[in-house]
């Protein structure tokens, strides 16, 4: 989003192994060789930046941490420059630790099962086609700004029962929280407040006029004792669904289209064998996983033989785990018919992404509808592809030429 101010600069990295920084422009541009370098050095590396932060570099080390809720807390989910007090109910269940995690998570699971997603699919196909209608005649398009960006935001708005036409507002909040907020606390707080005010107004409205969307669903939820959720819990979960539901899948769809634009052989194979799209989606998720989570070390322990000390953050890079050659043969290659693919793009353990079934459906539908109507496309050599910084990785500018005449 080049129209929004950029975060404060950090000193450039000269020693990746001992001083890594996931907001460095080199990492933003092309993180893959950096991860290889870090992995070759150690299964867990450390930086003094961000007030002290570890990064597991192997699939095994990532799995160990993701499954260890005793030594690692989820209360902070973004590695940032500051560590202010954590608010209770920041964004449950992703910010919750056991034992409060499970009931909060179970509440959100039923609306996101594969069956529930099937019901949403026709709406998604319609949204994709509406978006394509808007640019197909132009012969060129920024596929990130005009296609991938609006698919997930409109899907989650539809589910929450808030106007799809407010999409740009939501996208701006997410940018302030997940990118600018890493280095500028005020941006994060401003966006969080605006979101809370927005949702509070919707909650008030539903008190007199109940609806059948996710906001009413959360308002009507009862715990085991039959009590409604605290207001802050409802708000926190709504914030989570909006934040988590948007630029994650936007990024995954964008990276997938980017790959197909520059890899004609894969594009032609999917055109000839559309049944392969679900398998290809898994591989694209592995190779270009968008989301890196965080943990905070709350008790000293060892991970893959490396000591980790309390008080440090952990950059829990599922994307780096998914490039570990010990886990995936030819990890650096995109093999669209890869059969064995236990990728961790949606996380592992109790914090597995609640929206994974939604994201998968959106990706499949977005690629299917695009390929049906735009079988031929390529990167526009006159334009530049740019990538987001920090927590979620995906193309933010994706200039394409459409059609055969290239």
């Amino acid at each position: 989003m080049s129209d929004v101010s950029q975060p404060v600069a950090h000193p450039p990295v000269t020693d990746w192994v001992n001083d890594f920084d996931h907001t460095d422009p080199q990492w933003t541009e092309d993180p893959f060789p950096i991860w290889d370098e870090l992995r070759a050095a150690s299964p867990v590396v450390h930086t003094e930046r961000f007030l002290g932060c570890y990064m597991p570099t192997t699939y095994e080390a990532v799995r160990e941490i993701a499954n260890d809720t005793e030594h690692f807390s989820s209360r902070r989910i973004i590695v940032r420059d500051v560590r202010p007090e954590v608010a209770r109910n920041a964004a449950p269940p992703i910010t919750s630790d056991p034992p409060v995690h499970k009931p909060a998570k179970q509440l959100l699971l039923p609306p996101f099962t594969p069956d529930a997603m099937k019901k949403l699919e026709p709406r998604m196909r319609a949204i994709c086609n509406e978006l394509i209608d808007g640019f197909i005649a132009d012969g060129k398009v920024d596929a990130a700004a005009r296609y991938s960006k609006y698919i997930p935001v409109r899907a989650i708005a539809h589910m929450l029962g808030i106007p799809e036409s407010d999409s740009d507002l939501f996208i701006n909040w997410i940018h302030m929280i997940l990118e600018l907020g890493i280095k500028d606390e005020s941006k994060l707080l401003q966006a969080a407040q605006e979101m809370s005010a927005y949702f509070s107004a919707h909650i008030e409205e539903r008190k007199t006029k109940p609806t059948d969307d996710l906001i009413s669903y959360l308002m009507n939820a009862r715990d085991k004792e039959g009590n409604p959720l605290e207001d802050s819990h409802v708000l926190g979960s709504l914030r989570l669904l909006l934040i988590a539901g948007i630029d994650t899948t936007w990024s995954a769809i964008g990276s997938s289209l980017w790959h197909l634009a520059k890899t004609p052989a894969d594009r032609e194979r999917l055109l000839a064998e559309p049944a392969l799209i679900p398998t290809a989606v898994e591989e694209l998720l592995r190779a270009y996983s968008p989301v890196t989570m965080a943990r905070e070390v709350v008790k000293e322990t060892t991970i893959s033989g490396c000591p980790v000390k309390a008080g440090n953050m952990v950059l829990l890079s599922f994307p780096a785990a998914n490039r570990d050659p010990k886990m995936f043969p030819d990890a650096d290659k995109v093999v669209i018919d890869r059969r064995e693919n236990r990728h961790a793009a949606f996380g592992l353990g109790i914090h597995r992404c609640v929206g994974s079934n939604l994201a998968r459906m959106e990706m499949q539908v977005a690629l299917e509808e695009w390929l049906k109507r735009i079988p031929d496309f390529a990167l526009d050599p006159a334009g530049t592809v740019t990538w987001s910084q920090g927590t979620v990785r995906g193309p933010r500018q994706l200039p394409f030429l459409l059609g055969k005449a290239m």
Binding site: P110, H343, L348, R352
Partner: protein
């Protein structure tokens, strides 16, 4: 004589990624939370052996066992 296969989901490990259901819908069922269990007694009907192995090798939580009897 080919061996008979049986699939089993470890409910403590399953986190509801639903990969098994997508890859082998005949062999797995999901509960209201999207967590998986084997369909029926887990016995893999002839012809679906490949799907059983595929589900096992794609479960991110290593929650699926394929037992050869």
């Amino acid at each position: 004589m080919t061996e008979r296969l049986k699939v089993h989901v470890d409910p403590d490990k399953c986190q509801g990624h639903a990969r098994c259901k997508a890859l082998a819908p005949e062999l797995f069922e999901l509960d209201e939370y999207g967590n998986a269990h084997e369909a029926g007694d887990g016995i893999v009907p002839p012809g679906l052996e490949d799907k059983a192995w595929l589900a096992k090798s794609n479960c991110p939580e290593i929650a699926i066992d394929v037992i050869e009897e």
